[in-house]
Symmetry: C2
Subunit: 681 residues, 2 copies
């Protein structure tokens, strides 16, 4: 296992690049599951998208999207030498680099300036403590080869970068000796957010907002200023904190333990790049380790994009990692869904359905998804989108998470305390959503949207139907098994349903339509998909009039074609391979590949896993790198219509881990999948 | 009854208006059901949209929309005086007027020119003979108060105005003494179109294209040149024709007979404008009297807009007029649908349904409607539209036409020769299209589009569900009655279906969901309509970025609002009032009015009829005038996205007749509707 300071664990940018400030904010992010601190420099402000994002604290300002709250930034700091500010982009910069040590989650920067005829060097380090999640610490050192009089302005920047704020109704701030503080209340809930920042020296003065330190840095000497911040949400109370070195050591130690149970080493020649990308992906997952009642947001803790909401990404792409490396964290993710069952019941009811229809964008169970989630680039009007009301596969994704967690842990307790009810409510939802086709004597799931969001309101989406079927069959199986062992507890759960619920679901599942693979092995993504225009994603891309256009909807370039955002059938095949032969997986892989735009960061890892399952070593490697390097490349889609959707891509990181830890081994044993396909048609 | 030449029957434009050339082409149109000749001047060409439109002859050129064919124009004529062409827009025009005598379908023009120090007057008259539908005749007179040497260039213009041509693969033309001819073959079918044009004088020379006449018009004298054209389609043979005066008299006589059975006289003060508009509407209907196997196109014979196809307009807005004035013509309209049942069976089958799914845009039963019927004004890309595959009410509209015709005529013969089978196939289509909602123990019609096309893919559209229900119940009733009288014939019809077809349809209809009016009397247009944004049509209009934008689709301004193109529920209430109380009709009228854009020319007459039914005299009058004057005002929507949809509006004319002949009388007897509402809910 690589340790703190190992150069193979360090990501570096040499030189300052003004155009990369926002993407570096994502790429060099630090965090500890409760807070994320973007990879910006101390002298930066809201215009550089500095962000200290709080997990799971949501706030909505009237008429705008509800989103997570960014806290006040305790680490604002500006050094002045010779009366002039020293910034990474100043004229007198001689050299700059910043780096992220993924072995211990420490962000560092070093910048050298030409000052007073000599060279002054600024260094700073920063981390969000994994050992004490309310604590963030930073150390500044200033050294010079000539004597320089320096002023340091530091403090808590309450001019917070927000997408849909302002989230604080008022801010109280002040200074007590060596400590600054700022306290505000979130507008909607009134939840208080307090940021304390303690300096290692007493400032010379406080101007009401920032502290000022007047220092002469003597030639050859080094000036050090440490800052220890505590961020307290709600009724959390401040605790005494250790000094920087002690905090640093404890943080590094905790990271070391986490790496011990999480690291995946690749073997072979020329794998350095891939190994780093994989570890970087694991780093991105570790800094999201869920705390308290929270789950993980789709853009992690990199900001407010996607409203800090929890998507299906969690169950499908993050849960596998945590289930294999940190079962307590995995349990939190599963419990989050069980705890928010009420929200899912309410959502189903609001649409006239029974059972549990989970939020597409969950904020503690509330669905933050708008019916107008995209802005048209031509008219700048909101576009009616169907993520919220038609992407019904979310409930089955949630169910699969519970089922997989149970399969791993045999945790009957979790099933009895909400898990089983959640599973049955999810099945009941599909039951009530479905229609009976009297011409074909089968139930169908009509008017849905699969993971491929470019095709709205389709019938019998393969991914959705199979997932609903599978989770219902498993839910009934678990229910029966549990009833044998805990008859009265299960009876109590079942009393919340109609008396014949299990029989109804049983009968229903046996008549739910499951599209079969054709003679060529290909499964149709939804009714009528094969009849759409047969054109590749690349060809369709050329039809764009505006590069930010939304590809779906009525007028999107993909809508009337076979071009898809991501391949639902490939995703289904890697998720529930028992319904496919290896030959069928290969056939679907080949068929859908050219049509796939990979407009979702979830797409590449599904293809990578399918490539692994079918012995396509080169393809698997290519898709793996694509997935593992998304955040390193600052890639992924930045815009959906006029809406900014940038940030980190935890699901891609989770996907990279899945490919490395669960996929690659299959390439050497491609026959593992030769199970019998046993489903009705 | 008004006669030929009565000034109250003449529509006139004084002065030439270059901007009105295209709309005058519609407004001053002449026709005889087989041909329509646009109201253009003899010196005009394709750039002025001169058109001699042939009813029911369709041609498609690869990759373009299939449409009716325009014949070669036999009436091109250019007079030269003093070497200069005399056009209505020439510098030397002293005065111009053109007019249409709707008593006999004669178009006239008079233009005076300043020539050689004197005044030269050109007059021309033209008509499509109602007495012999292959014949068109024109008379030119030239007079002057000074001697003028004149050259007349006249002949058959084969440079045809076409929207999606060229439709003739080759043209043969020539001159035999006093007759020119041009013959071409439609590209798709090879059907020949021959235009002969006979002059009353032998031309001085023929230049290969046009005939030239050199004439000196002496002061105070009048030069006359008659042209008698025959247009022969397919294997029609030329017949000897009479001279202009005889043809004129026979045409006027035939018109007189038609007016005798069609005229509607309004009584009261200040009704001159309305009376003319009503007669003008009747004129527009009379020139469309169907001939041969044809029905009536949505834009009549005014050109190729809407592909010359037959829409639901025919059954819902035209059939009532013909059924009350010309039962033979009405029968042709009904027989057209029975004859094209095969096309409807094939369309249903192509979508996986049973029974008869009629063409949204029928060209002899073939559905000319494209899946991409609108072009986006921003991207200029085709937009996926759902007129063809989701506007399933068309089949019930067709059924209602047959039922109404039978109710009027008791024509058992028509039912036995296809009518009954058509009705049952239509019901079977709805049966197979529907899904069973096991939660609510009812059948539903999902994923449809009602007449209000701005809301695509809705569930349980009120108009559609009631029409399907009503036509099925009536079809079964007619079947049972007919079986008593003609047991073996009906048994033969029923052998084409499953043995229990009647029982299945009976059971199905009894469980088909019919939305009820709420306590406030309002019926929801479709599932979820009430939840849409509550905003008026006027408010929504302000949101347009481009005035030609399509209001529907995903990104249209109306889509996510209550704003509708036309009111489905109001249309339903005036079509099947037995399912409503007068109070409910009034409630729906009031409720939907503010939301209605009237983007369809069918909208105003539905509102007019509802106003009549609920005693709203002023409103009825307003909507009546709006409907009756659409073509007089050159109004109606000219664009759907980037697609030109101009032309005459026969359905509005038919609607105006319905309001005048069937609506107005109800205003004095507003209680006629107090029938018992008897339908299940």
């Amino acid at each position: 296992m690589r340790r703190n300071g190992d150069p193979e664990m360090i990501l570096t940018r040499d030189g300052f690049d003004g155009d990369a400030v926002v993407s570096d904010g994502n790429k060099f992010i630090t965090g500890n599951g409760k807070f994320g601190y973007r990879g910006t420099l101390d002298e930066m402000t809201r215009e550089h998208c500095v962000g200290l994002n709080i997990a799971g604290l949501y706030d909505g300002v009237e008429g705008k999207w509800r989103e997570t709250v960014n806290a006040f930034n305790p680490f604002y700091l500006q050094v002045y030498a010779d009366g002039k500010p020293l910034c990474a982009w100043s004229d007198n910069v001689i050299g700059h680099r910043h780096s992220l040590d993924i072995s211990c989650g420490v962000f560092s920067r070093e910048t050298r300036f030409s000052v007073c005829g000599g060279t002054l060097e600024l260094k700073a380090q920063r981390f969000c403590s994994m050992a004490d999640v309310n604590v963030l610490a930073s150390r500044l050192t200033v050294s010079s080869d000539v004597d320089v009089a320096v002023e340091i302005v530091a403090g808590i920047d309450d001019d917070v970068w927000e997408l849909n704020g302002p989230h604080f109704s008022s801010v109280a701030k002040g200074c007590r000796e060596d400590m600054l503080y700022a306290v505000g209340s979130a507008q909607e809930s009134g939840t208080s957010v307090r940021v304390n920042c303690k300096f290692s020296s007493v400032p010379n003065r406080f101007d009401g907002r920032f502290a000022h330190f007047y220092v002469t840095v003597a030639a050859g000497k080094t000036y050090v200023l440490d800052r220890i911040a505590q961020v307290l949400v709600g009724d959390e109370q401040p605790t005494p904190t250790e000094d920087y070195d002690a905090l640093y050591a404890r943080n590094a130690d905790m990271w070391s333990k986490m790496w011990d149970r999480s690291d995946v080493e690749l073997e072979g020649d020329g794998i350095d790049r891939a190994q780093f990308a994989l570890r970087y992906s694991i780093y991105q997952l570790l800094i999201l380790t869920p705390r308290g009642d929270c789950s993980i947001a789709a853009r992690g803790l990199s900001g407010q994009t996607y409203k800090g909401a929890v998507f299906w990404d969690t169950e499908m792409f993050l849960l596998p990692f945590f289930m294999n490396t940190d079962i307590a964290a995995a349990k939190r993710l599963v419990e989050y869904r069980i705890r928010t069952l009420d929200g899912a019941l309410a959502k189903a009811k609001s649409y006239g359905y029974k059972g549990a229809f989970y939020a597409w964008e969950s904020q503690d169970g509330y669905d933050a998804c708008s019916d107008f989630n995209v802005t048209d680039v031509f008219t700048h009007r909101p576009v009616r989108t169907y993520f919220k009301d038609k992407q019904i596969h979310i409930s089955a994704d949630v169910a699969l998470g519970i089922i997989r967690y149970f399969d791993k842990t045999q945790d009957n307790e979790l099933l009895l305390r909400g898990g089983l009810e959640t599973l049955l409510q999810i099945s009941l939802f599909y039951y009530s959503y479905s229609y009976y086709n009297h011409n074909k004597d089968r139930f169908e799931l009509l008017d849905v949207m699969g993971p491929d969001e470019y095709h709205e309101r389709v019938n019998n989406n393969a991914y959705t139907n199979y997932m609903a079927y599978h989770c219902t069959v498993r839910a009934l199986e678990l229910c029966r098994a549990l009833r044998r062992e805990f008859p009265s507890e299960v009876a109590a759960v079942l009393r919340r349903f109609e008396p014949d619920i299990c029989d109804s679901l049983d009968e229903w599942a046996s008549k739910l339509y499951l599209p079969a693979c054709g003679d060529n092995g290909v499964m149709e993504q939804f009714d009528g998909y094969f009849a759409l225009e047969d054109v590749t994603a690349e060809e369709v891309r050329k039809r764009l009039v505006n590069p930010r256009e939304y590809w779906g909807g009525t007028t999107g370039v993909a809508t009337a074609t076979r071009v898809i955002k991501q391949a639902d059938v490939v995703m289904l095949a890697v998720t529930l391979p028992q319904y496919f032969t290896v030959g069928q997986i290969a056939a679907n892989y080949r068929f859908y590949l050219g049509y796939t735009e990979h407009g979702s960061s979830l797409s590449a890892s599904a293809y990578a896993l399918a490539a692994c399952m079918t012995g396509r070593a080169e393809d698997a490697w290519k898709w793996f790198l694509h997935t593992a390097e998304i955040d390193l490349n600052g890639g992924g889609k930045q815009w959906a219509g006029d809406v900014y959707i940038g940030g980190t891509h935890p699901a891609a990181s989770g996907g990279a881990w899945m490919v490395a830890a669960q996929g690659f081994e299959q390439i050497c044993r491609p026959k593992f999948l030769h199970r019998v396909v046993s489903h009705h048609e």
